[in-house]
């Protein structure tokens, strides 16, 4: 299906293409079943950032207030990229881990299942 428009060939400009983010790309990140953070986060990141740096330097600022965050065993963490399970290479860049512009990265920590038995 496509938009019925007054004139043929109507197409809006792509508002959020990667060239508009000053060398960064958009990364969306959610911690599954930890609803203390009521929504997933959206951050700008350099595509060359190593995945390990994301885990070590960026995630604590996003999720560090959760009392279970410090207990996460990152070797047991299950990662999803656009809904598909994958195993990130900590030394490789986000781009080389297949995380492009507006990627959706989710992680699950079965050893830390959220508070109160309510995925909080």
């Amino acid at each position: 299906m496509s938009t019925q428009a007054i004139r043929p060939g109507y197409h809006g400009t792509m508002k959020d293409t990667v060239d508009k983010f000053h060398g960064n790309q958009i990364l969306n990140i959610g911690w599954d079943q930890h609803l203390m953070y009521a929504t997933p986060m959206c951050i700008p990141v350099p595509p060359a950032m190593p995945f390990g740096a994301l885990v070590q330097q960026v995630l604590p600022g996003l999720f560090g207030q959760h009392p279970q965050f410090a207990q996460i065993d990152w070797t047991k963490t299950q990662w999803q990229r656009s809904g598909e399970a994958f195993t990130p290479d900590m030394d490789k860049s986000l781009a080389d881990n297949g995380l492009g512009h507006k990627a959706m990265l989710r992680f699950k920590t079965p050893d830390q299942p959220g508070l109160a038995g309510a995925a909080f």
Partner: protein
């Protein structure tokens, strides 16, 4: 141009016309068959949506309201309304409402709803020009005036509160810039930028007929419960117009469906789209009903049962004879009714530093009400969060989310809604178009995007705009060493924590309320004094 009436209206004989004659002259005689311009050059936008109309004279205006009768009725309503507003002001009745948390609900109204009324006015002005049928044009023009009147009376009524309370003085500016107000703004811009038939189905039917009772009934009875006669009065003054708009909405649908069977699938698609768009927009009302009203009227779940499940159920049963079925994903709204208010309030709480109103945690008495209204969900999923956050506040380390949320490409809410069948898991939906990824809060929003990706690729998502650098004031230097993009983005949006949003307990409204009224700012926490040893300030004019 020959002025030949399309139907034979009675000719004036000098005596006073009956209402019916007057209406016939008003509507049918304003139309004529063009002789030196082609009809398709005059009515330029009635073809492209694919709707087929064979006989515009079949349009029945359910009210047959003439212009002089319209001015008379509206004038009477205005006189009554402004007499009440005068009395309200002279009695300082703004201090008689339950507590100053109630006033925060009015901030949602002035900042979010008034802008929608004005946008709706613009939309009806446009379609008042587009339809070849004269009666349809007149109906749209009257509704355009109604919507403008609503924007004005709401502004006038709330302007009195603005003299005493913060966060109301800059509503047109905030409507265009504040991140979560892009939800109502984009809703109406989506409608106004569609075709005339989609606008009339989306706004008159799906929004006005099916859904707006959910705004006006709970809001106005909430105002009455909390002793705000000013808001009750502008609500009633608008409600009689709303009743007319709803009747117009059902007439529009029946007219389109009866004109040609080929219209049915097109109309069904618009009902599906605008029902879901309207439902997502109105989630804001869920937070208002369940959390913001100090004296609660009914829960969101109860309101949804009455105004959608029962009334909407009867409506769609009636429309089945035209081949119309209930809106797609209506089943999801029924599942979500036990969750959306709590999920929204959790979201506003953690982003309260970036909100246009202060946010608070529900007290025990309120949580008991929520438990009773939501026996299946509140204690299990939501009470633990509020208790955890209350404990952190007690310890002096309150929880806040300093990062920006991921937004839905269609409705522009953060992805705060959970899977319809799993309240422990955020609902993620993703699509790709022209090599780029797009994210959605629900199947409903994903469906809307996929039907018209050309339109939604240029949605203005505030979070992405902040990262692109377009949410800064002209004096900002992004290369300065102390540059903080989030602080600067809030300044661009016109939001100051403590004045607009922030913690309720330290908010200027809470301090001033207690100093001026000697009554608790939070009626459910009468012993908590706002942390304000300093003398109360008049809010900046």
């Amino acid at each position: 141009m020959s002025n030949t009436a399309t139907t034979s209206a009675p000719q004036s004989t000098g005596k006073k016309l009956s209402l019916k004659e007057n209406y016939a002259l008003l509507t049918r005689d304003l139309g004529w068959d063009p002789s030196y311009q082609k009809a398709e050059d005059i009515w330029r936008n009635v073809q492209f949506e694919g709707i087929k109309i064979h006989d515009w004279d079949k349009w029945e205006d359910p009210f047959r309201l003439t212009m002089d009768a319209y001015w008379k009725y509206q004038g009477e309503k205005e006189r009554k309304l402004y007499a009440i507003l005068d009395a309200f002001q002279q009695n300082n009745a703004q201090f008689n409402v339950t507590d100053v948390r109630y006033v925060q609900a009015l901030k949602l109204f002035i900042n979010a709803v008034v802008g929608m009324e004005y946008a709706s006015h613009r939309g009806f002005n446009i379609i008042g020009r587009e339809f070849p049928g004269t009666a349809a044009r007149i109906a749209a023009q009257m509704q355009a005036i109604d919507e403008l009147r609503h924007a004005q009376t709401q502004t006038h009524a709330l302007s009195h509160y603005n003299k005493y309370f913060a966060g109301m003085s800059n509503f047109p500016y905030q409507y265009d810039r504040t991140w979560y107000l892009s939800i109502p703004k984009s809703f109406f811009e989506d409608a106004v930028s569609s075709g005339p038939f989609e606008f009339v189905v989306g706004i008159c039917f799906a929004f006005e007929y099916v859904l707006t009772n959910l705004v006006f009934m709970p809001w106005m009875s909430g105002a009455a419960y909390n002793s705000d006669m000013s808001t009750v009065s502008f609500g009633f003054s608008a409600q009689s117009d709303e009743a007319r708009h709803m009747t117009l909405g059902i007439e529009v649908i029946k007219f389109l469906l009866e004109q040609d069977p080929a219209n049915v699938p097109i109309v069904q698609g618009w009902i599906d789209k605008w029902f879901w768009r309207g439902y997502r927009l109105l989630s804001l009302v869920a937070a208002m009903m369940d959390y913001m009203l100090p004296k609660r009227v009914m829960s969101w779940a109860e309101a949804w049962e009455i105004y959608y499940e029962q009334n909407g159920g009867a409506l769609f049963a009636d429309l089945a004879r035209y081949g119309i079925r209930p809106p797609k994903h209506a089943d999801v709204t029924v599942k979500e009714k036990h969750h959306v208010g709590h999920q929204l309030w959790s979201t506003f709480y953690q982003f309260r530093h970036a909100a246009g109103f202060p946010v608070w945690l529900p007290k025990e008495e309120e949580m008991q009400w929520l438990s009773a209204k939501y026996p299946e969900t509140f204690d299990k999923y939501y009470r633990p969060r509020f208790e955890h956050w209350a404990e952190l506040e007690k310890q002096g380390t309150p929880f806040a989310n300093p990062t920006l949320p991921q937004l839905c490409q269609t409705c522009q809410w953060p992805l705060l809604f959970t899977e319809p069948d799993d309240p422990t898991q955020i609902c993620y939906r993703e699509g790709a178009y022209l090599g780029e990824k797009f994210h959605f809060c629900s199947d409903g929003c994903k469906d809307i995007f996929e039907k018209e990706p050309e339109k939604y690729v240029h949605a203005h998502l505030p979070v992405h705009q902040i990262y692109q650098g377009s949410y800064f004031m002209p004096d900002v230097n992004p290369t300065a060493p102390d540059f903080n993009p989030l602080v600067e983005a809030l300044r661009y949006m016109g939001l100051t924590a403590g004045h607009d949003g922030g913690d309720f307990n330290t908010h200027i409204d809470a301090k001033n309320w207690e100093a001026w009224t000697k009554r608790p700012a939070n009626a459910h926490a009468p012993h908590v004094t706002p942390t304000a040893p300093d003398t109360p300030e008049r809010k900046a004019a």
